[in-house]
């Protein structure tokens, strides 16, 4: 009789619990991570990066001399774009194939572990599944790697492309204004720092003043935008039943991209 009573309580409690908004849900156990720094140390990447660095050093000296010869701001911009393009082309040529193979290896291993998202190791401080060794083995094997047939399971973690949000007109205008302000302040404070010579106390005082000026401006110009973006992102995430949102730069595979929704929310 007593046992039956307890069972009834349990049954009622569990029933009530399952309808409450705080119902027990399945824990997110399908988060994988990869140590990209370790992957970058593989000989193939080291040698490709060395080649790229050599090319960049060569470009840098050409860039510097062409910039010195530039007569107008338009010329400078054209030169800058041209060199950026040349570097990206080389990057695509040298690192591109390796990057594609690594990306496919991540997707394959992720599918094998039924992971909904794979992120960079840097953003996971506890738990998650480390797939670095599996990805390395597959990457180094001689076999061809095909994209997985099935798409990843639905994710609890979303991501936004910060570079896209930064290019929104009002955000870009604020960032540009901030950069301009910081550059001007540097022009004002740097000579004072140089004049302070080895007087550490004086230097510290000047630097603190510079820092405060820049921070105040940041709070005035950027903080409202950062807060608004955070709120909009959290609102969209809630609607999509996501737990957290991270930056796209930290996502290697899977996850739910909510950048467009956040963009729309911010444009309201």
């Amino acid at each position: 009789m007593r046992i039956r009573h307890v069972s009834t309580i349990i049954a009622t409690a569990l029933l009530a619990f399952s309808f409450s908004p705080l119902a027990i849900a399945a824990d997110a156990v399908d988060v994988g991570y990869l140590d990209q720094a370790e992957l970058a140390n593989l000989p193939q990447f080291v040698s490709a990066n060395r080649e790229l660095a050599g090319y960049k050093a060569q470009l840098d000296s050409q860039f510097a001399s062409e910039m010195k010869g530039a007569a107008t701001d338009a010329d400078k911009q054209r030169i800058q774009l041209d060199f950026q393009q040349r570097l990206s082309d080389k990057q695509r040529e040298v690192v591109g194939p390796l990057f594609t193979r690594a990306q496919l290896a991540v997707q394959q291993v992720s599918a094998a572990h039924n992971l909904s998202i794979v992120v960079d190791k840097r953003v996971v401080i506890y738990g998650g599944i480390d797939i670095t060794k599996d990805v390395e083995s597959l990457f180094l094997s001689s076999q061809a790697i095909n994209p997985p047939v099935a798409s990843p399971p639905p994710a609890d973690i979303g991501f936004v492309d910060q570079t896209v949000l930064d290019s929104l007109p009002k955000v870009k205008a604020a960032n540009d204004e901030m950069a301009q302000f910081a550059a001007t302040q540097k022009q004002i404070f740097a000579p004072q720092m140089a004049a302070a010579g080895k007087d550490a106390a004086k230097q510290q005082q000047i630097y603190a003043q510079f820092q405060k000026t820049v921070n105040d401006k940041e709070n005035e110009l950027l903080k409202p935008l950062v807060d608004a973006t955070k709120t909009a992102t959290a609102d969209v995430a809630k609607k999509k039943n996501l737990i957290l949102v991270i930056d796209r730069a930290d996502v290697l595979s899977g996850g739910m991209d909510i950048t467009t929704d956040v963009q729309s929310e911010l444009s309201k």
């Binding site: 849900a25 401080i125 630097y207 820092q211 809630k238 737990i243 991270i246």
Partner: protein, 419 residues
Amino acid sequence: MATLFAAAVLPGCGPDVHSSSVRGVGYVRLDEVVKHHPLYPQLAQLDDAIAAINLAASGPHVPLSAGQMQAQIKELNANLAAAQERANKIIAEKETRYAKLEAAAVAAALSAAGVSGAGQYAATQTSAESAQQAQAAAQAANQDFMSYQQSVIAQDNAAAAGIARQLQTQAAQKFRAKEEELQQNETDLSLRLTQQDATQRLAIKTRLSNLALDDATRSQLTQQLADLNAKEEKAISSQRNADQATLSAYQAQLNKETSAAIAAQTGSIGAQTRAKIEERHDEVSQQIRSLGPAPLPANLPPGVQAKIAAIHKRYQAQFQADAQGTVADYQATKADLDKQFEALHGADVGATGAAAKELDALQKRRADLYKQIGDQIKSETNRIAKDQGFTTVFVDITAAAGGYDMTNELIKDVESLHE
């Protein structure tokens, strides 16, 4: 059973880790936790010191006099030459060491293969002698290239210094001309004022020379004369102040124009120099590539030849890996000296020389300290997350719609490290 049920369902003091909004996921606002770590004041101090060096280095550079520039260029050239010599010496030592090791390995391989009497010969021919000859030739080519590079850079610097001197002389001449022009204006004004007041002054003086003048009138006339002098002096002084301001502004404008002109001219000289150096570099690289090891004796069996080739390849790779560090050190020193050359010519290149070294040391200390703080926070996070049954804990998130924010708990934890 009731206890089990309570443990499983009641949230108790900890968070409801398995609720639908948390789903086993936690997150930490790492920056906030770091700020409460006992070592944070040291970290902040390092950050400030790094930022202060960067700030001091980002300022506009005041153009140096030709003499100062010459002295600094001489010092930089000496530093570059010393770095080149040091790197060459270390690389030559490594080359010799690896050549000896390779020779010994080849001799051992030949002897193991039973090539009679060929051990010494083969080792000498394939490794020691021919490799040393090739190395000597490569070293000579490198030395030749470096001397060429040094002489071209020295020419560039001499030409740049000459141009700087010439432009600074021109600027000084312009300034002197302006100074003289303003001085002349001042003299003209003084003359004009004197002429303007001459009649009045003469009349006052004539009246003052009359001995029969009463005291009141004499005093009045003396005052009139003093007023005239004061008026002239005021006009001249006001003109002088205006001229001084004009001169200061002119000096600033000349400095700016001179710096820009020096940067433009030296930039173009630098581009020509780089082109010349690159051309010679290509020639030397071609020359060095053609210096392969001496051919192996024809009578060696193919298996032994392959073995010797593999040994050569292995030691070559080892030597290259070993030399890489020396080359990287030299490149870093050269890059810093290049930046100092550019800074001398008015370019904004950030911290250089001693400041760059200090910056580097501070950044290393900062990275070590941050790692120490980060490791401690990670270990505390692991303990709490494990105790409370989280599956995953994130840091550096963009936004949270759910999950459990462990930041405050961790702050309390790291703060207790103070005690």
